[in-house]
């Protein structure tokens, strides 16, 4: 008794199903690592269930069970993310729906929908990572998914795996040139078209609008690139490579922050001395801060940015995608020579009841007199001469963090120094604030760009000194190099040594550094040319070849695509013409009959070589001898042995040549 088709669980031959499951795993694997564990486990369990159900030919699950699982999936995603929209919950839903689709693969339609879902899931990866390797992942996955689609549409059993992969591979290979043309020429509309979910993009580390002890130290171990810089013209000396980020002025005894201030007109800023012009490619940071050398020129700001009252370069909206901007800075300056009383009060505020010892110390300096400069020098001298250590692993600090750092632990990272220095200055009556940002920039030996990494994150202080305005003080720099602890040394000075030894002695450190530089160079090209290829770069590039406006772009796009398709289609049709016979004797015979046909003597259907030769001899007596010889040579070559002998073939070739004369 045959089972009715409806109760069968599969629309696919088993072999095709295994392949579908394999490709599914390939496509969702990177997501499985990102999703909540319960969901990854559920999806894997559905896959296992599917395998067993197919093996044992279990009936398809009841519709109520499927509906229940779907509701459970929504509830689960809501429980994990607190909502069901946005980037992360959206991807989570897509993946679990793909898993649930495994419970109903009854018709070919279900399988095709699954394959389309796989294509779409592939896209979601790039919201999380667009590194160079994803290109190869993209190609491998599209070939595999396309092979599955080809397999699905082949009636009558699964295709041999290699044939299916070859079909997929050939399709993708033929699509690549077209993709390249579209990528280059398809006019890009500046996004976003609708509001991006606030969790768009990959999770990233970086500086933020608050700073607690340990925040910057955490960044110090991150090798991630913060931004890349290409200088136009002069390159600033290492001592001037202070990249200004969030300026923090509110202190609660432990953390620094930058509460929003009412907008005020930009304070006066006089820039002097040499200027630097540079193009920065900032990795997405999800914050509005852009980084510029101290101090950015307000008259040459990048588009859609502003300069805050603390001289921060701010984007109008948070940077969620890689951003490229050109800025101009001058390190010699006089910033805000006059400070209003209200401003002064704001910048002298310290929370009451915290850090009593530090305040007492600072007040003693103030009473000693000597002016603002003397107070600053006293503080720096303390860091320099007393036993302060610079370490990546500072001890934990309690309530009076500044007191504990200054008088007990004396081990800290830049934020400890900057924070306590600003507290001391304020206590001594000098307006001061903490500036966070990056210090340094490492030249890539293969490109002409400089790299600033998260490990270059830094915090320093700014003190307002009457007559001079804001003055940058970096207390960390005054700590004696002898007291830089080893843990940091392995990280910092090791690479520094390697940098000096580049192209010199060949050692492990150097090799590692070189490999990292090459990778960084490739990565920078990838970021700049491929990932950064958007509306602006496209216009710049195409302007150079005279395709500046979108009408010309569209014309060029359709023209080149049509030409490429004609070429591909032409090659396809060429391959599908009747193939030349593999038999050498038959090929020569055809060559001869074509020639006779051209002379008005076609070989009729069903007419053998001997009959044909006889007929030609009758109709054209002049050709009788060569044609009879030809037919004899052909029959000999073709039928005397299984494979024509070389002598027989030579005879035949001679006979064909004789006919030509």
């Amino acid at each position: 008794m045959k089972k009715p088709a409806a109760s069968r669980i599969d629309a696919l031959p088993q072999r095709s199903l295994w392949r579908l499951l394999g490709v599914m795993l390939l496509v969702i694997a990177p997501h499985l690592l990102r999703l909540p564990p319960w969901e990854s486990a559920a999806v894997l369990a559905l896959g296992v269930w599917r395998v067993v159900a197919t093996r044992r030919q279990w009936p398809a699950p009841h519709a109520a069970i499927k509906a229940g699982l779907t509701i459970l999936a929504f509830v689960g995603v809501y429980a994990s993310f607190g909502r069901v929209w946005g980037q992360h919950p959206g991807v989570a839903l897509l993946v679990i729906m793909l898993g649930l689709k495994l419970t109903e693969l009854r018709a070919r339609r279900d399988v095709v929908v699954t394959v389309f879902l796989l294509y779409f899931l592939l896209l979601t990866h790039f919201l999380f990572s667009q590194e160079l390797w994803t290109l190869f992942y993209l190609l491998a996955c599209t070939i595999a998914v396309t092979a599955v689609l080809a397999d699905t549409h082949h009636a009558g059993g699964a295709l041999p795996a290699r044939l299916a992969l070859r079909i997929g591979g050939r399709l993708i290979a033929q699509s690549l040139p077209l993709m390249l043309l579209m990528f280059l020429l398809c006019p890009r509309i500046p996004g976003p078209l609708w509001t991006l979910p606030d969790d768009a993009g990959a999770a990233r580390s970086g500086l933020s609008e608050t700073m607690s002890p340990g925040d910057v130290a955490r960044l110090a171990s991150s090798d991630e690139v913060a931004f890349r810089v290409r200088f136009e013209g002069a390159i600033p000396p290492a001592a001037d490579r202070y990249w200004r980020g969030p300026v923090l002025w509110a202190f609660d005894g432990r953390s620094w922050s930058a509460p929003p201030q009412p907008f005020t007109a930009n304070p006066p800023l006089q820039l002097e001395g040499p200027g630097y012009r540079y193009e920065t490619t900032l990795e997405p940071s999800r914050t509005p801060w852009l980084f510029a050398l101290d101090y950015a020129d307000a008259s040459a700001l990048p588009e859609r940015t502003r300069l805050s009252s603390d001289y921060e370069l701010m984007s109008w909206k948070p940077v969620n995608e890689r951003l490229r901007y050109v800025a101009q800075s001058q390190p010699r300056h006089r910033a805000q020579p006059d400070l209003s009383d209200r401003e002064r009060r704001r910048l002298l505020t310290l929370p009451a009841g915290y850090n009593a010892r530090a305040r007492a110390l600072a007040q003693s300096w103030q009473q000693a007199g000597g002016g603002d400069r003397a107070i600053v020098d006293r503080a720096l001298a303390m860091f320099r001469d007393e036993a302060f250590f610079y370490t990546l692993e500072p001890p934990r600090l309690g309530r009076d963090s500044v007191d504990e750092f200054l008088f007990q632990t004396r081990r800290g990272f830049c934020e400890h120094y900057a924070s306590s220095f600003v507290v001391l200055m304020r206590a001594a009556g000098l307006p001061a604030r903490v500036v966070t940002g990056y210090l340094g920039a490492e030249k890539n030996p293969f490109g002409d760009h400089y790299v600033v990494r998260q490990s270059d994150a830094h915090a320093w202080a700014e003190v307002w000194i009457a007559g001079f305005g804001w003055t940058r003080i970096d207390p960390t720099a005054t700590v004696s190099p002898a007291r830089v602890e080893q843990s940091l040394g392995a990280l910092g000075s090791g690479t520094r040594q390697a940098r000096e030894g580049l192209f010199g002695a060949l050692d492990w450190q150097t090799l590692r550094y070189q490999a990292r530089s090459v990778y960084d160079w490739i990565d920078a090209q990838w970021n700049g040319l491929v990932l950064g290829y958007g509306t602006d770069l496209q216009r710049d590039l195409l302007d150079r070849i005279g395709l500046g406006n979108w009408r010309d772009m569209l014309l060029a796009l359709t023209g080149t695509i049509t030409a490429t398709l004609l070429l591909i289609g032409g090659l396809m049709m060429r391959k599908r013409r009747p193939a030349a016979p593999t038999d050498a004797a038959l090929r020569l015979w055809r060559q001869a009959t074509r020639q006779l046909q051209a002379q008005g003597l076609p070989q009729n259907r069903g007419e053998g070589p001997r009959d044909f030769a006889d007929r030609v001899a009758r109709e054209r007596p002049a050709l009788a001898a060569p044609v009879r010889a030809l037919a004899r040579a052909y029959l000999q070559a073709r039928y005397e042995a299984v494979e024509p002998t070389s002598e027989a073939l030579r005879e035949l070739r001679l006979a064909v040549d004789a006919l030509k004369r």
Partner: protein
């Protein structure tokens, strides 16, 4: 409103792709070529339309493109463009999958009206590329068979064709189609191969043979015995039963000889149009067809007398075929005119 009896316009709205396909096909039929013995599929004769999966794929690509624009994500752009390109390339592959295939029709056996006629169709792939998932079927439907055609090969397929009226009919239109490789597009071509399908009248229900009257003799029960009286040899003619071949003489003569029997006392019967009692011409022909079959089965010698034509009494498969062909090709309208004139 009944779905089955929907207005063509409504049907077109519900199944836009199918309606479009039918329109194109009708156009193709009007501008079709005369039937040929062998047809090679040409580029210009292939139609192609997206399938509903193809439309879904296009929609998906568009959504992905929107997402890529929104996130300004270059890799997402790359994927969307790759899929768009994949659609275009697969369209060309689908189209090319039919190019250069060669079709020719083989002989087909005559059948009785209403039975399925088996038509031999040779489908050849002379190129060096395998053609996967090629469907060959009659344009008006019929059973679906999907075939993979290896390179440099010709496959023989037997297609069953529904028959309606008796007569000699041209072969119906064939449709060759494919959705290879991804099922996003469907390419098809239609063609009519030269060849004829001979359809005999459908035999009427069993009934007695005509009793002897002025022109016919009664059928004797010992009819089979009539074949026993050997009368001599004659040359083989197509349609002769192999049982009648005189095998012993074959090596000597080099050609098959047929043993002939004299049915001296055996029955001889005339099957005549006038004897049939049915009211209309088609029913009469059906009755005659039944008689021919019964007479042949009974081993009688029988002749056929139709208005305007007479086949003298004989027996054997060839005679039976000749009689049935007469019935199949009988011009009923002319006969009726003659009847009235009489």
């Amino acid at each position: 409103m009944n779905g089955a009896a929907a207005h063509p316009l409504l049907d077109g709205l519900r199944h836009p792709l199918r309606a479009l396909r039918l329109r194109i096909e009708r156009w193709g039929q009007r501008h079709g070529r005369s039937p040929q013995a062998s047809v090679t599929v040409q580029r210009g004769r292939i139609y192609i339309l997206p399938t509903r999966f193809g439309l879904g794929f296009a929609l998906m690509t568009l959504v992905m493109l929107l997402a890529a624009t929104n996130y300004a994500n270059s890799m997402a752009f790359a994927l969307s463009f790759l899929l768009a390109a994949l659609g275009l390339v697969s369209m060309h592959q689908t189209h090319a999958n039919l190019i250069g295939l060669t079709l020719s029709a083989g002989a087909s056996e005559p059948v009785f009206a209403g039975d399925g006629a088996r038509v031999i169709v040779n489908l050849g792939n002379a190129s060096s590329v395998i053609r996967l998932s090629v469907e060959l079927r009659w344009a008006d439907g019929g059973t679906l068979a999907v075939h993979d055609l290896p390179p440099r090969d010709t496959q023989r397929y037997e297609l069953v064709c529904r028959t309606g009226r008796r007569g000699r009919h041209p072969l119906p239109m064939l449709r060759l189609s494919t959705e290879y490789p991804l099922g996003l597009f469907r390419a098809w071509t239609t063609m009519t191969l030269r060849g004829a399908l001979l359809v005999y009248p459908q035999p009427a229900a069993a009934g007695p043979l005509p009793s002897s009257d002025g022109s016919g003799q009664r059928l004797a029960s010992q009819a089979q015995a009539g074949q026993d009286d050997f009368a001599g040899f004659r040359d083989y003619r197509p349609g002769d039963s192999p049982r009648l071949i005189h095998w012993k003489s074959l090596p000597r003569t080099g050609r098959p000889l047929i043993k002939q029997f004299e049915s001296g006392s055996s029955t001889e019967v005339w099957l005549s149009w006038q004897q049939t009692a049915e009211p209309d011409a088609e029913a009469r022909l059906s009755r005659l067809a039944r008689w021919v079959l019964d007479a042949e089965a009974a081993g009688a010698r029988y002749g056929l007398r139709l208005p305007g034509s007479v086949l003298p009494p004989a027996a054997g498969a060839a005679h039976r075929a000749a009689c049935l062909e007469q019935l199949a090709l009988f011009d009923a309208a002319a006969a009726q005119g003659r009847d009235r004139a009489r």
